[in-house]
Symmetry: C2
Subunit: 297 residues, 2 copies
């Protein structure tokens, strides 16, 4: 299946379910808290993590219905991390994707609490999901999400990122920070997809490697965009300060080195998908390969 | 069993297990994040929530071992809520229990992230608990904890508290705010205890009522202490400003009215415990009754 068609068909269903989930708590949640949560959940992100989760299920020949609640939980966690990351004490950003950040649209107290609420509620979304009937599978999805997002996962990466600012670190250290900061949740998307679908251990292992490799490629491309976009638009490195003090792939490998790293990782991703296809002909490798085209620079 | 003896024996075991849990993630967690989490976990609180959970198990004739991970998860959640509550954008407190608050001992970014980490990690503590073997029970403990702490529980209460500041609200509105803000986690302590012990539905219902009633009594006593302590110590209402603008039981009912409310609720608690004892002679009502003596003013 074409990835663009899959996303086009699936995004409105996901949005409807997000709206449903938010509406369910309406009676018991102060309206300002609801509005603040909904505001950041609907800031126009690409929903790449939930889409990756659902596409993994689909590529493995499964009905995507049973993936929606976990996909929304993942989007909740991603959204909370952006709200807290934007706070004055953290990155101090006033805008995200052209809209006011949560603490600017509301206030700091509300933003902190809306982030806390999205994080907390996410676990019950999986725990109460009636479409996944196996309790052990749900527990595994909860445990892995907490690990991916918690003190040895995403939050370790955010602390590492703050600590490394302005310092020179080597490629290995940066890889570790980025594995935690962005890699863990991207990995979880694919992990959750294959745990719900439950293919052979061999295919799980290959998808696992695909997930980590995709995460690296995603981060390299993200870093490159900061350099290249401004380069194209204005003939100068608009974000070069950020790129330099923040320890990015281009700042450590150089722009060409980073482009090579991006190419090497997307190539490895394609090889892994082909290996799965060789094991199971019915595997829709093209659906996942389409997510690599998002990493064009 | 004497409550004081139970606590004296159980607190060191709980502390040891908290230290173990923190040490487990040592290799994968940045040390500053670990220190910040441990700092607030070990600020010398009374650990009333985990103790209440374990005492409920014990009162129902169960081994308390299987309650420890849930008790620690609950203490993680309580601790995160204090860290975030103390932040400059929230209550802006520099001290808690005579020690610097987390964002003063570390910095604001670290405090936000340490709170996030405690909140996130708590769910995996329950999810991975090998001493509770029934997956459905663990899912229920996770779901209920997320509900008690999330957008329709504790966080709803915190938003309500912020919104009510400086406004006049009536007794019903204040009860609702306090039910969410402090009642939900106290209720959860007893809920988790009886769900793990699994007595008859009749006893569960009585313990449930005990839990909500205890939560009200706890909050009334808390509010009264702010007024009475300063009264005794200095001959004036040291915290009367806070007590008045913050909508407390004494500010709405008057000090005498609040004392009467405290008495009525602790009496109701004792009656409920006696009712359980009447159903099941082996129920250790005295162990839970001991927690009422903490509510002396």
């Amino acid at each position: 299946m074409e990835t663009s068609q899959f996303i086009e068909e699936t995004l409105p269903i996901l949005q409807e379910k997000i709206d449903d989930v938010l509406a369910q708590n309406k009676a018991q949640t102060p309206s300002i808290l609801q509005e603040s949560m909904a505001y950041s959940l609907n800031t126009g992100g690409k929903r790449i993590r939930p889409m990756l989760l659902l596409a993994t299920l689909k590529a493995l020949g499964q009905n995507i219905t049973q993936g929606f609640m976990t996909a929304i939980a993942l989007e909740y966690i991603h959204t909370y991390s952006l709200i807290h990351d934007d706070l004055p004490a953290m990155d101090n950003d006033d805008y995200r994707r052209g809209k006011l950040t949560n603490h600017k649209a509301f206030d700091e107290a509300t933003a902190i609490l809306a982030g806390d609420a999205l994080l907390t509620d996410s676990f019950a979304l999986i725990g109460k999901d009636s479409l996944i009937t196996n309790a052990e599978v749900k527990l595994d999805l909860i445990n892995k999400l907490a690990d991916a997002a918690g003190s040895k996962g995403m939050i370790a990466g955010q602390i590492g990122d703050v600590q490394a600012e302005g310092k020179e670190i080597d490629l290995l250290e940066m890889k570790e920070i980025h594995k935690n900061k962005t890699g863990e949740l991207l990995h979880y998307a694919i992990y959750a997809g294959y745990q719900i679908a439950n293919p052979s251990a061999e295919i799980k292992a290959l998808l696992d490697e695909f997930a980590w490799t995709y995460g690296i490629a995603y981060q390299v491309q993200n870093d490159l965009q900061e350099v290249m976009w401004s380069d194209d638009d204005r003939g100068k490195f608009q974000h070069s300060d950020a790129a330099l003090t923040k320890n990015t792939y281009p700042s450590i490998l150089g722009t060409n080195g980073a482009i090579e790293a991006l190419f090497a990782n997307t190539t490895k991703c394609r090889t892994l998908l082909q290996q799965i296809k060789d094991i199971d002909e019915s595997f829709d490798d093209q659906l996942l390969a389409g997510f690599l085209t998002f990493l064009k620079i």
